[in-house]
Symmetry: D2
Subunit: 333 residues, 4 copies
Amino acid sequence: MGRVHAETITFRVPSADVTAIFDPNGAAASEVAESYGIPHTADTSNEIINDPAIDAILICSPAPTHSELIIAAARARKHIFCEKPLERDLNRIDALLEAVNKAGVKLQIGFNRRFDANFARVRQAVVNGEIGMPHILHIISRDPAPPPISYIKTSGGIFMDMTIHDFDMARFLIGDEVEEIHAMGAVRVDAEIGTAGDFDTAVILMRFRTGVVGTIDNCRQAVYGYDQRVEILGSAGAIATNNLYGNEAVISTSSEIKRDLPLAFFMERYKESYANEIVAFVDAVKNDKPVPVDGNDGRISMLMVEAARRSYAEKRPVKLTEVASEAISTTAR
Amino acid sequence: MGRVHAETITFRVPSADVTAIFDPNGAAASEVAESYGIPHTADTSNEIINDPAIDAILICSPAPTHSELIIAAARARKHIFCEKPLERDLNRIDALLEAVNKAGVKLQIGFNRRFDANFARVRQAVVNGEIGMPHILHIISRDPAPPPISYIKTSGGIFMDMTIHDFDMARFLIGDEVEEIHAMGAVRVDAEIGTAGDFDTAVILMRFRTGVVGTIDNCRQAVYGYDQRVEILGSAGAIATNNLYGNEAVISTSSEIKRDLPLAFFMERYKESYANEIVAFVDAVKNDKPVPVDGNDGRISMLMVEAARRSYAEKRPVKLTEVASEAISTTAR
Amino acid sequence: MGRVHAETITFRVPSADVTAIFDPNGAAASEVAESYGIPHTADTSNEIINDPAIDAILICSPAPTHSELIIAAARARKHIFCEKPLERDLNRIDALLEAVNKAGVKLQIGFNRRFDANFARVRQAVVNGEIGMPHILHIISRDPAPPPISYIKTSGGIFMDMTIHDFDMARFLIGDEVEEIHAMGAVRVDAEIGTAGDFDTAVILMRFRTGVVGTIDNCRQAVYGYDQRVEILGSAGAIATNNLYGNEAVISTSSEIKRDLPLAFFMERYKESYANEIVAFVDAVKNDKPVPVDGNDGRISMLMVEAARRSYAEKRPVKLTEVASEAISTTAR
Amino acid sequence: MGRVHAETITFRVPSADVTAIFDPNGAAASEVAESYGIPHTADTSNEIINDPAIDAILICSPAPTHSELIIAAARARKHIFCEKPLERDLNRIDALLEAVNKAGVKLQIGFNRRFDANFARVRQAVVNGEIGMPHILHIISRDPAPPPISYIKTSGGIFMDMTIHDFDMARFLIGDEVEEIHAMGAVRVDAEIGTAGDFDTAVILMRFRTGVVGTIDNCRQAVYGYDQRVEILGSAGAIATNNLYGNEAVISTSSEIKRDLPLAFFMERYKESYANEIVAFVDAVKNDKPVPVDGNDGRISMLMVEAARRSYAEKRPVKLTEVASEAISTTAR
């Protein structure tokens, strides 16, 4: 993702420059720096964090490194863009949010899908009242193929790795908080995923505070490709999105009417949304606007992951207040 | 078609009864009579035409028999429903229309496609002004497979056999008369069709009196099935129809996104329109309303067939006034 | 529904005749008898049940009358078609099934949607292995508008009135039994429905014995019309159905690309499936084949309704074995 | 278009640099140079043409300047990318092609639509035999709104301004030359366009050398947006493309099922194809490959424009051999 964001800033954000990058793998850093004309590759992350000429940093490292980097950056008064998940440990989330708040810096979380034209259109329809008051939400989010078992083992589980995006999407689309979650999971695609302690198929039932009910459908394998759709029924109508395709050609033969498969995976499907989120972050920093996805959004998505885990383990619906005694005090945008 | 209409009247038109049928093939007539509880199979068509208890007759016999039957029926003061083409000889059309007019009976032509829900919706959009003033019309009308060569030989040619429906559709949808026709034809599907003196593929360019331009696309073979679509561009929008399918299921596999083929041929595709036209005919007869497709419609479609033939033979655009010196005096509905 | 079935047998089933009908409302019975040429209107249901010339009866009366009529008909050795729900009391279901089994008569339940071309195609895809082994099922089943409150009060609740069809659909499509149900319900459409002790919106999570997971989405009001769709993800692909429309015309204007609303309600949407189920029943009776939807299907759908009710009331997933201690011994087709 | 190509080379073509640009409007040139970090703005086009450090030039100036610039560039041994139309005068086309051939430089014409994913997929289907041997081609190409009358007056007419793209598309998709053209035109959108000596609506009938027949539909105004579709019927199937949209969301309301309008105009619709053609040109120059759209393609498109003009003026089909006595010696790819 570091490379993707470097490319976006270089080519699409004239008002910002990537002045330095750091990667423990120095060769990788040099290669990216050369590709995008980045003047400096740092020897440590601190070198970047403490550079007074730098306004903001993007954290694209593995999740376990996030809280330490965020806290250091906040202390150095840098604005921060951090990839999801914000941090796997709920206590450390509280600590890093405190540091961010205290420093008064901006923290944006990489829930890029909010910036996808399809999902943004759905949110717009809800906000505009085009479908009235929402009643039911469905999110379908399936990968084309499972990752290697080695990845599964360190992924934090399907809820943290896949569903977290959908949890954020649910809050974003409805504009309300989920109160209760009931998660069913199954090993359907690959028994080794089960052996690794995870599952590959999940269906989740959610109830929002305002009474909206919703489902999430996740699977590690949809053989026809990356399947990313949502649908909302409201009091005045419904809105549903379809997948995106590389072309719109329809071929009719003597056996079927057909088209080519949808865009293959997230890099193709969410190309524009990855760029859009960075454009929005730079805009927030430069013009001192609120970031569109903040630390609280990162925190609540993790509360939902934890509620889903408990629900799956205990085979019962779990309220978010069971996970964090403290009430969710803010409302999603 | 006789059987189809007998079924419609029996099952869908409570206000009318089929009291007698005639077919030179007596066994066929008896079989149909039995299927639909028709009380009488006549020995001659005149027996029916002259039966004072009968109000209307349906002529479903081959084209060369039409004018004689129509004239006889008109003289017997019977209302008449006649399959297309009304009559292949333009002079005889004039004669039979005169007989019909003189007798004051109704004559409806079997252009059933006007009664199809898709095409009726297109016409409604034009009439309602939903797409503004029409500019361009496209008609696509392709059969799933060519008929036997023996049929081709007596078909009267592709313009009389296939395009005649589309000529009527063009007038119906636009509500205006075609002034000029330029037809290109080609033998693409089966060389034997060429040997038989016909062609199997045609594209026709038309200009209407009001300046609307249009095309017709005909082919004896679309391997994916019966392809029947129209599209109109107008000053305030456009309307286009799609084919009809036996089911709406979409299957996604590792190689494609697909659906089953459209409804196979005219008996499936136009099932409802065949019934609707008879319902409309009975309604016109019983309630003394104008028939929705009259003798003039039958005549003009034949003028268009003749213009297309000349255009193809002489490789040039042909005006309808070249075919019939007498101006077309009425306007299609 | 009695009228619908009478029309089907009269017009589409040449091998069967409706010889008598009974309705407590004699005028209604006479009107139907006249419409379809039915020779006799009985004074009591027993008159029909005990008529030795009659082979089979169709029960289209309210649910509370079903078990008594079924038991009487079984004793009279009549084959039986019964509308859903089979019977609301689980104990009485056991009793009537025993009577039917003892008499050796056929009992078909009116789960007509199995005979819809769309859903039949989905089932065929599963049986043929076109999508591999099913993983996840989604059923969406929404009415265009809520019924009167008076109807709601005697409907038996949304699970019995609406969801029962979807419970049967779930078993039919997957070909497996549901083991556990978790139902969430909400009053979203009309507060009076809540006052009447029911709710109008429901989302249900199901786990099948083989591990397939599924959801059902029900709402009493989808303002755009009757919304009836299903979708299955399998190991080798997916299949999804769309709604049915009165026409396929697409209109493009300066503000949107649009089409007319889908078929309005069940009488239009399921017209063919209502006919098909009767054709299948007559075929089963005349040719001594098993009925396609039997008494056991009627019983299990009621067990699911009961499990959904408990789940909703107790806010927890409920196993079907909690509802009926006796294991479900047969497998859905 | 100069700006568009400068952006493409800067951001998408690492192997090439824009080293200098010229525009008679110096301020415009400076602004573009600054936007994309172009080191030099020249005072004359010759300054660029004669710069020995420059390998290739892109000509994005008005059509009347093309031949002079091309000839000068060819003499200076520069490879050339030239926007369409290549040159309006057929004799001058011959002269410039001779200069290009003599110099042995590459000349690519800006028929960018060949590089659009939709149309490229259609061509691929033809080449792969996915639809068998082509029979009938339809091209629909409508602008969202007419340009100002001042533009119309210098546009060279609708055939040169709009249809030229479709003429090239016809040759590209079928891979064969058009033999005969019959063009009908009409003033439907704006009477002032007629006053300016042009028309705004055209339907064109074409016959290819191999007997394929085709149509082109052009209109200066489709109120729903930029409409760019093609369709081919072949012996083994058909392929059709749909428009591209900014999102795939479908909204269902109580009055209709709808979606937002398609991408607005050529800059949105053909964004990728403009980039792709430049990538292909640089690749051809750097790796000494044939250009994908060459001077002959530019010449033939102008022969077709001329044939269409004559056909419209003389109200008859016109053969391309009437326009240029010399046979078309090469075949389109």
